[in-house]
């Protein structure tokens, strides 16, 4: 028993590192009171260790801890994305006024970022419904608290109340679905469920459908797909901007990892069996296609009316989730690889945009689009970078965003989803409208009054380059990324 635990632990180094870091940060926060930089540094080091050790797991493919969790290239890919996001958020927090305003609690902030990362690592690999729930809940609880971090700001704790209420209800619905699926199959691990369903033919299809939809509701909440998106704009607006950026990338990535794994393990042809019971009785791709169209369209159309850039980016992140759902619809290796590629691209462009919004808000005290008037002339570097991020978010060449969209659309066209591709293209046009509105304000409008200058320090510029360079480079040199994404999907059991 002890030997098997120790052996399993060797495949569990990144997660163990995060647990140790979490405890160390909490302890350091108590020991070094009033010096929040110490726990912050420990947390950063722990995240780097976790990210590096996760990356070293590339190529492994084995279940650990009695099928509770799996270490495979797909999980590793998402762990690396999550770790990278967490590290960048850590660095961004250095200049966040919202975080610094309550420096006394910065240790807890650092610890909760680590625990959220741990939850997302577990989400990336979970292959048991119980682990899925626990990982979702660990991520969820950390994010509820983080989004209420600046409790002096009145909308912050309301955002987190809304977040936890929606979260608890969706967890409840998901758990009910899980309990029904357990009743049908007698198993909670995804492989056991698949074997049980293959053995039993289709004697209980309505129940299977109901339970699967209930479980999907839990994932839909995490990736804020319509109709489970209600919490997103308020939480994104109320939370500190670093937390918003973290949730919009890492939390979504982990949610997509879970959803794809659940659908692929239980619902697509594999193990030599032609068509799975779930797919045969119900057209999952169509349901997800409709969900993706609604998510994209709602996100884009509502974004048009926003005057707060943070809220605009929140709606645009709903729209991006819709775009990625389009690629999930295809249910093919190309489709899943397109999601992975899109996430890497999305990481840099979205974090970059949020980073600039944070810096500008720090200088001018406002996230309003009007406060960006004339910014392009006042702060050329900030202006040009923001233009590049926004163009990339629209999906125009020569930026990385174009590559992300290109692979999504080519996967769609390969699989003959022509109408969905057209809707997706129309949505990109809508998104162009509101992104350009920001650019127009920066370059073609004069500021109303004498605005505060936006000056970047050297270190801030370096971090900006970390976001900016990949956004540009991945737009022209993307072969390694594509190869990595395909390799991460190859062993995943779909054709």
């Amino acid at each position: 028993m002890v030997e098997s635990v120790l052996q399993n632990l060797t495949y569990f180094v990144p997660e163990t590192a995060l647990v140790v870091t979490f405890c160390a940060v909490l302890l350091a926060d108590v020991i070094f009171k009033g010096r929040p930089r110490i726990p912050w540094t420990i947390g950063l080091l722990g995240l780097i260790v976790a990210g590096v050790t996760a990356f070293q797991q590339t190529g492994l493919n084995r279940p650990v801890f009695d099928l509770m969790i799996v270490v495979d290239p797909f999980a590793v890919f998402f762990k690396v994305i999550v770790a990278a996001t967490a590290i960048l958020i850590y660095l961004m927090s250095l200049w966040s006024d919202e975080v610094k305003a309550s420096a006394r609690r910065m240790g807890e902030y650092a610890a909760l970022l680590v625990s959220a990362t741990l939850g997302m690592f577990l989400m990336a690999g979970a292959t048991n419904l119980l682990m899925i729930v626990l990982a979702l809940e660990l991520t969820g609880l950390s994010s509820y608290v983080l989004s209420g971090y600046t409790k002096e700001a009145s909308d912050s704790s309301e955002a987190s109340l809304k977040y936890i209420l929606f979260g608890a209800v969706s967890t409840g619905i998901m758990l009910y679905g899980i309990s029904l699926l357990y009743g049908l199959t007698g198993a909670t691990d995804l492989i056991g469920i698949r074997l049980a369903l293959e053995g039993q033919a289709m004697t209980h299809t309505p129940m299977l459908l109901i339970s699967s939809i209930m479980i999907l509701a839990g994932f839909g909440y995490k990736i804020s797909a319509v109709p489970f998106h209600f919490w997103t704009p308020d939480v994104y607006e109320g939370a500190p901007i670093t937390v918003t950026a973290f949730l919009s990338v890492a939390s979504k990535a982990a949610g997509f990892a879970l959803m794809i794994r659940f659908l692929v393990s239980t619902a697509t042809p594999s193990l030599g069996v032609d068509v799975m019971a779930v797919v045969q009785t119900f057209e999952w791709p169509k349901l997800i296609a409709i969900m993706s169209v609604l998510t994209m369209t709602l996100g884009n159309i509502v974004a048009i009316w926003q005057n707060n850039l943070k809220r605009l980016l929140a709606y645009s992140s709903i729209a991006h989730a819709g775009t990625m759902l389009m690629a999930v619809t295809v249910f093919s290796q190309n489709g899943v690889a397109a999601v992975l590629i899109y996430f890497v691209v999305y990481l840099f462009m979205n974090l970059g945009a949020f980073y600039l919004v944070m810096l500008v808000a720090g200088a001018t005290g406002s996230e309003d689009i009007d406060s960006y008037k004339g910014l392009g002339h006042r702060a050329p570097l900030v202006g040009v970078s923001l233009v590049i991020f926004l163009i990339s978010l629209t999906g125009l060449p020569p930026t990385a965003g174009f590559i992300g969209k290109l692979y999504v659309f080519s996967a769609l066209l390969d699989a003959q989803w022509i109408w969905l591709a057209i809707v997706g293209a129309l949505n990109s046009v809508i998104s162009l409208y509101y992104y350009v509105r920001v650019i127009r304000n920066m370059y073609l409008r004069d500021p109303d009054s004498a605005p505060a200058p936006v000056v970047l320090t050297g270190a801030q510029t370096v971090l900006l380059m970390v976001f900016l360079v990949p956004t540009l480079v991945l737009g022209v040199y993307f072969a390694p990324l594509v190869d990595w994404a395909h390799a991460s999907v190859a062993l995943f059991g779909i054709r």
Partner: protein, 100 residues
């Protein structure tokens, strides 16, 4: 002997009662109580299946559902108290729940 379906009907009704509470009540604490009803109906279903399948897995899940419920309740009530301290209300109408 009571058949399995009776237990399932009972927990389905309990789940839906909780859902009505979540949808209609505007007091955040009562919404939390309704969520507890939903989670308890999940547990009832799990134990029923566990008992009728002769498989202890369902009972194992129950403990974890309870853990999740306790953690959610603790954080949720902390948030409610923080809001109440500032606003003197726990009514969700004044907190604009479904604004989008």
């Amino acid at each position: 002997m009571v058949p399995l379906s009776h237990y399932l009907f009972l927990s389905a009704v309990l789940f839906m009662t909780g859902a009505v509470g979540v949808l209609t009540r505007r007091n955040a604490i009562i919404v939390f109580m309704s969520i507890e009803l939903m989670l308890n109906s999940v547990n009832l279903t799990l134990v029923a299946f566990s008992s009728f399948l002769g498989n202890v897995t369902g009972q194992m899940l129950v403990f974890f559902v309870m853990t999740v419920a306790a953690a959610e309740a603790a954080v949720g009530l902390a948030i409610i108290i923080a809001i109440y301290r500032r606003k003197q209300t726990v009514n969700l109408d004044e907190i604009n729940l479904l604004k989008w």
